[in-house]
């Protein structure tokens, strides 16, 4: 397959992508590889469909009857390689695994673990009775790194399965003709120039140029999104290879009929192959969110290293031994780096919640290009209107037929429903009797399914009807006295009308005069203008004399009349818009996001749907509308007058990028119709993700302060250590995890869509306001809560706060076993260590308690929690989960040995409650001021 050369005349519909590129990475670099990708993105360049069969055969040195010779086929196979999609170049699994295990900041944790083992080793060498703390911590750290490494490796492995799903699209067997012989070969062995035969049910083994076809229809939906099976014939019907009828595509399905074709492309050179390559090529690119997260992690790692090193130096200056200093260093690194582990996990979780591709352009979206089918519409054809008895009726699609109805006793309706039910190959799949009709699965194409459902709803079982009226297309009639055969036919209305001489009105056949034709035209246009797919129906009772019972009908050699039939009516179907779409489009609009619809549908249909969902809003006209209204040729309309614009895919091809820019600038409402998949983009709903990620980060960062301040005071004020490294790990990897992730499920705040799109250069994930809020304000209150519990426990056990300062040297001396407390009591080393570890546990529990409040305030950035509500079930679960986990860690027997966490007296749980409450009140007041005084000082300084 040839590719358009160079990038000079290249264009892309991916306008928002272009914009992003311009903003985010204005410096284009190493343009070569990119150009490759651009080439792929371009329209398929195929010329075979325009050639005659002979020319194609000549081009591929093949015979259109005999096919290739075996030797020739072997030769080509050796030259082109197997007919399969090449998997993207893969890094060996163990490299991937090691990258997860040792890459990035896991190396920091490894260093921490190694330092721990080293410290333990030195202690074991110098002391008779080394404490196992460092050994345990080292083991825990190593375990953490290994577990998270395995986890992320597993996730990566999962995502790489996307490509494997493409592999599965390759057909297994193919029927080829070589040296005049039909033979089954492995699809991988099919080569360019092979003659291939396909029949209904087959997967197309390669891109084929059809040379003969019998009623062949293919389902191109995996390629174009077009749900309707398309006819295939040897004639070239369109310049665009994707539109023309004489090409079938690799890995699409043949629905019915048979066809024979010459293979024109195999493997990666097929259209599908190019898309697969494109899809796997795109994975390489980092999404804005990934960049943000990377930035965030760099920031945190920077902070961790800075804090760790400065604490190290500080503790050396303060006269600690280097071993102690190393242990402090480990503590700081663990506190910070584990935090980023949570954040990373959470970010990944976030990306899993919505799918990864959807995050592509994120909150910085300024333009949304949406596919129609399945995104804006439900991809479920439904009969919407009917026209019979010269009247348009609205179809009743309610399950119990309670909606607005029409006169079902009309003979015309009976005839129409008969035709729709009989001239229809769609059947319900088995075992669905209890499922509502509208929700049942149907085997058959979209419009026939729609008809089937409609008739099933309004006239009862179609199956019974078919049983009573045997045979397809020509039926024996129900009435035993009537021996006439019934011929039924449906199809494009104008074609059907051409075959009709009469029309059924109120059950009586009447001649089809000009007046009726006019009425038909109006109805057709009206229904078509609604964006509906219109089908015409006619029938004919074959005269008994000519076609007696038992007459042998022959469809191939038509031996019965197909003209002068009786027109019965029209039925029109629509793919209804999703209920939430108009609202969503409206919200995007108010957020200043331009919404563009890109579809493979006919422009009229496209326009109607666009109007239906509000992409073209009420009162806005396209150039064509204006022309029609003013009754002037389209060329005379000033394009600036038209706010809306429908662009045909074929026109788009001929536009230069300047022209496209102009269109995008001049029209606020744009619909691209009849576009190919390469021109389609994905709808993006990234703001919520970005918002929630911010909240998650604010939540996790906050607990960093109560984790670090204990170390700070321990070193500076020489108090017993208030919070140990193990407990820090418990917070970062245990209790904070689920709540942080639960914020990803938080519903959007009411103002989310009223905000301007995010500017990726200035609005970042982590900004100084977030840091100031999390570290400077909420975190400080949290630390106070933790310290208060710490002081309470020590005081209640005899060590009043006043005595604590400077006590550390004796406190941590193993040989001092009569340390005096404020009451004159004397403590052994182990006794006071138990109290210290109880303090760690209490500090830990306090952090959990203050994190409750933090979680609730992080739910919203502007609204009050009373406005937002507590509807996030996962968040509520998270609250209970962290509390239960904290209680478990404190009370589970054996924890005193395993993690050195001790059971707390119930009253100690309440120490941090006032601080939790304080956080809540403080932030509610802040948000109140924020809302009352938009743009004010509080917003500028604290709105993150």
């Amino acid at each position: 397959m040839k590719r358009k050369s160079g990038g000079s005349d290249s264009y892309r519909v991916a306008t928002s992508q272009d914009k992003k590129d311009d903003k985010g990475s204005p410096k284009k670099s190493k343009a070569k590889e990119r150009r490759d990708l651009d080439d792929l993105k371009k329209e398929v360049a195929m010329t075979e469909h325009k050639m005659s069969v002979e020319e194609v055969c000549r081009k591929y040195n093949t015979d259109c009857v005999q096919g290739l010779t075996h030797s020739k086929a072997q030769e080509i196979l050796a030259r082109d390689g197997p007919n399969a999609l090449t998997p993207p170049p893969t890094t060996p699994e163990w490299v991937k695994f090691c990258r997860q295990l040792f890459g990035g900041f896991s190396i920091l944790l490894w260093i921490g673990a190694i330092l721990c083992f080293l410290a333990y080793g030195i202690q074991a060498g110098t002391e008779d009775d080394p404490s196992g703390d460092n050994l345990y911590l080292g083991i825990v750290l190593a375990a953490v790194v290994i577990i998270t490494g395995c986890f992320s490796y597993y996730q990566e492995a999962k995502s790489s399965k996307i490509m494997e799903s493409f592999k599965n699209m390759v057909p297994q067997q193919a029927l080829v003709i070589r040296e005049g012989e039909k033979m089954q070969v492995n699809a991988e062995e099919v080569v360019v120039g092979d003659l291939v035969e396909i029949k209904g049910g087959d997967r197309v083994p390669a891109d084929l140029r059809i040379i003969s076809a019998h009623g062949c229809k293919v389902d191109n939906s995996s390629l174009t999104g077009e749900s309707e099976p398309q006819t295939r014939s040897p004639d070239c019907t369109h310049d665009n290879p994707l539109e023309t009828r004489n090409i079938t595509f690799f890995s699409t399905n043949c629905v019915e009929g048979t066809a024979r074709g010459v293979v024109v492309a195999t493997g990666d050179r097929t259209v599908m192959g190019r898309i697969a390559t494109l899809a796997s090529g795109l994975e390489v690119g980092k999404t804005p969110i990934a960049i943000e997260i990377e930035h965030f992690i760099q920031l945190i790692t920077g902070v961790a290293v800075f804090l760790g090193v400065s604490f190290f130096i500080l503790s050396l200056i303060l006269g600690y031994t280097w071993l102690e200093a190393v242990i402090f260093l480990i503590g700081i690194i663990v506190a910070n780096v584990c935090l980023t582990l949570t954040a990373k996990r959470m970010a990944r979780k976030n990306c899993l919640v919505k799918n990864l591709e959807a995050v592509e352009t994120l909150g910085s979206t300024s333009t949304i290009c949406s596919d129609k089918t399945g995104t804006l519409t439900q991809n479920r054809m439904t009969v919407a209107h009917m026209w019979f008895d010269n009247q348009i009726h609205e179809a009743d699609t309610t399950e119990d037929q309670s909606g607005t109805s029409f006169d079902k006793s009309s003979h015309t309706w009976v005839a129409l429903s008969h035709i729709a039910g009989l001239c229809n190959r769609a059947v319900f799949k088995g075992g669905q009797d209890n499922i509502p009709v509208l929700k049942r699965d149907v085997a058959g194409d979209a419009s026939e399914s729609a008809l089937l459902k409609c008739i099933e709803l309004s006239s009862g079982s179609v199956k019974l009807m078919r049983e009573r009226n045997k045979k397809l297309s020509i039926h024996e009639t129900e009435d035993p006295n009537d021996n006439r055969y019934l011929l039924v036919m449906k199809g494009a209305p104008e074609r059907i009308l051409d075959r009709c001489a009469t029309i059924l009105l109120q059950g009586k056949e009447q001649p089809l005069d000009e007046e009726m034709k006019e009425a038909f035209q109006n109805a057709y246009l009206e229904l078509g203008g609604l964006g509906e797919r219109v089908l015409g129906f006619c029938h004919y009772y074959l005269p008994e004399e000519q076609f007696p019972k038992g007459f042998a009908f022959d469809c191939d050699d038509v031996n019965f009349t197909t003209d002068n039939l009786c027109f019965v009516g029209l039925m029109s179907m629509i793919d209804p818009p999703r209920a939430a779409v108009p609202d969503a489009v409206g919200k995007c609009r108010s957020a200043g996001i331009k919404v563009i619809m890109v579809t493979g549908d006919h422009p009229i249909t496209a326009k109607a749907i666009a109007k239906g969902v509000g992409i073209i809003s009420e009162g806005n006209e396209t150039v064509e509308d204006i022309a029609a209204r003013l009754n002037i040729p389209v060329s005379q309309v000033n394009p600036r007058d038209a706010k809306a614009c429908v662009i045909h895919g074929t026109d788009l091809k001929d536009f230069t990028s300047e022209q496209i820019d102009e269109i995008l600038q001049n029209h606020t409402e744009i619909v691209f119709a009849r576009t190919s998949p390469q021109q389609k983009l994905i709808i993006v709903e990234g703001r919520l993700i970005f918002d929630n990620l911010k909240k998650s980060i604010a939540y996790t960062l906050t607990s960093n302060i109560p984790e670090i301040t204990p170390f700070l005071l321990f070193i500076m004020a020489n108090i017993p250590l208030p919070l140990g490294t193990i407990t820090i790990l418990c917070i970062d990897l245990g209790t904070d995890m689920v709540p942080a992730i639960s914020l990803a499920y938080e519903a959007a705040e009411s103002d989310i869509m009223k905000r301007q799109p995010r500017n990726p250069r200035t609005d970042k994930l982590v900004n100084e306001r977030l840091i100031s809020m999390a570290y400077g304000q909420i975190g400080m209150i949290q630390a106070l809560g933790g310290f208060f519990s710490y002081f309470v426990i020590l005081a209640e056990n005899g060590f009043l706060p006043g005595n604590l300062v400077g006590i550390r040297l004796n406190w941590d001396d193993r040989t001092v076993n009569d340390l005096e407390d404020s009451y004159g009591q004397q403590w052994t080393y182990e006794q006071r260590k138990v109290v210290e570890f109880t303090c760690h546990t209490a500090f830990f529990v306090s952090i959990v308690v203050v994190q409750w409040a933090d979680l609730i305030i992080c739910k919203t950035r502007r609204n009050s929690v009373f406005q937002q509500g507590m509807k996030n079930k996962i968040l509520i679960f998270g609250l209970f989960e962290e509390t239960a986990l904290a209680a478990f860690l404190s009370y589970c027997p054996g924890m005193d040995v395993a993690l050195r966490m001790y059971p707390l007296k119930p009253s100690w749980w309440f120490c941090a409650f006032p601080y939790s409450f304080l956080i809540f009140v403080y932030d509610e007041i802040r948000k109140l001021i924020l809302r009352r005084n938009p743009g004010g000082w509080v917003e500028k300084e604290t709105y993150y």
Partner: protein
């Protein structure tokens, strides 16, 4: 690869802004490094774009951006803030932290109101009592050579210092002589000052340092004083004072052939209990038991375990070797 490059460039742009946030947290060195990187990237970018600008320009621009960030004369801003907004935020933070300090002070004050200064709220962690010995020099190994006084002189000094508070004259002056064999219970208000029982240095006889100022170290018969940790409200079982007994911890039990205990009962008399706490029981003197190792195998390390015995005393906790017992080694060289 290509995409990464783009992202890095993108990141580089961000770093300018990121620096503002990170200013307070980054090591200056780190920052400079990053700037360098940025600079390099910028150069590459420019080369790739092929705009043909001299690379020095990029450096100058970077420098300008940084200096402008540090001090922007036009907007009169330094570190992206005007003096006014900076002082405002400082004032706000000052008040914020001041009120937080007030809050914690208030809570601690309430804590002091809530707990009694005379009696600890909980004492279960400090029970059962631990044991400590004197002389104590951050080590539980007693290594000395009888013939070299400098090897044991510090023990003597330590013991002398420790026993200053037990001098008979001082005890007689400060404390009362209360009847032995029964608790010295002083009812009355919590905040009333309590009297303390005398424990005279002379009770320790040969280990008092009065007759033998070297506490037996000069003869290879060292004295070691044992005291039980004070616990507010702790009372041994009535009529059953806590006794002390020492033996070889592991090895030949005849390595210690004889020990003399002073007082001879080798126990802590009941009259020294209960303890009422530092605040009211000001002159409380911890009772002692002196162990006089009169005949111990010389020139070899002898591990000694001294245990408290009595009801309510636990002396076999595995992970705390100072509760109800103490283990030390004697290595007396001649």
């Amino acid at each position: 690869d290509d995409q990464d490059e783009v992202n890095q460039n993108y990141l580089a742009d961000e770093e300018e802004d990121a620096e503002q946030e990170a200013q307070m947290m980054m090591v200056p060195g780190l920052e400079e490094e990053e700037e360098e990187e940025e600079g390099k990237e910028e150069e590459e970018e420019r080369e790739e774009e092929g705009q043909g600008q001299p690379t020095g320009n990029a450096w100058r621009q970077k420098l300008q951006i940084v200096t402008e960030y540090l001090w922007d004369p036009e907007k009169r801003m330094s570190l992206a803030r005007t003096g006014q907004s900076r002082s405002l935020i400082l004032v706000i933070y000052f008040f914020f932290y001041a009120s937080l300090a007030a809050v914690i002070t208030l809570f601690l004050y309430m804590l002091f109101l809530a707990i009694s200064p005379y009696m600890p709220t909980f004492t279960e962690q400090v029970k059962p009592p631990g044991v400590m010995i004197r002389p104590f020099a951050h080590s539980l190994n007693f290594n000395f050579n009888v013939s070299e006084p400098e090897t044991w002189q510090h023990y003597v000094v330590s013991l002398n210092g420790f026993l200053q508070g037990y001098n008979d004259s001082l005890q007689e002056e400060m404390n009362v002589d209360c009847p032995p064999g029964q608790y010295f219970i002083q009812d009355g208000d919590e905040d009333e000052d309590k009297k303390a029982c005398q424990f005279k240095r002379s009770f320790l006889k040969n280990c008092s340092g009065l007759e033998d100022p070297t506490f037996g170290y000069s003869t290879g018969q060292p004295c070691i004083l044992l005291k039980m940790n004070r616990i507010v409200g702790f009372r041994p079982e009535l009529g059953d004072p806590v006794k002390v007994s020492c033996k070889v911890q592991k090895g030949d039990e005849y390595d210690i052939r004889s020990i003399s205990y002073y007082p001879e009962s080798a126990s802590f008399d009941l009259r020294y209990y209960p303890y009422y706490g530092k605040l009211t029981h000001v002159n409380y003197t911890s009772p002692l038991v002196a162990m006089h190792f009169t005949d111990v195998v010389k020139n070899q390390a002898v591990p000694v375990q001294c245990q408290l015995k009595g009801k309510g005393i636990i002396n076999d906790v595995i992970n705390d070797r100072f509760v109800g017992r103490i283990i030390f080694t004697l290595n007396i060289e001649t």
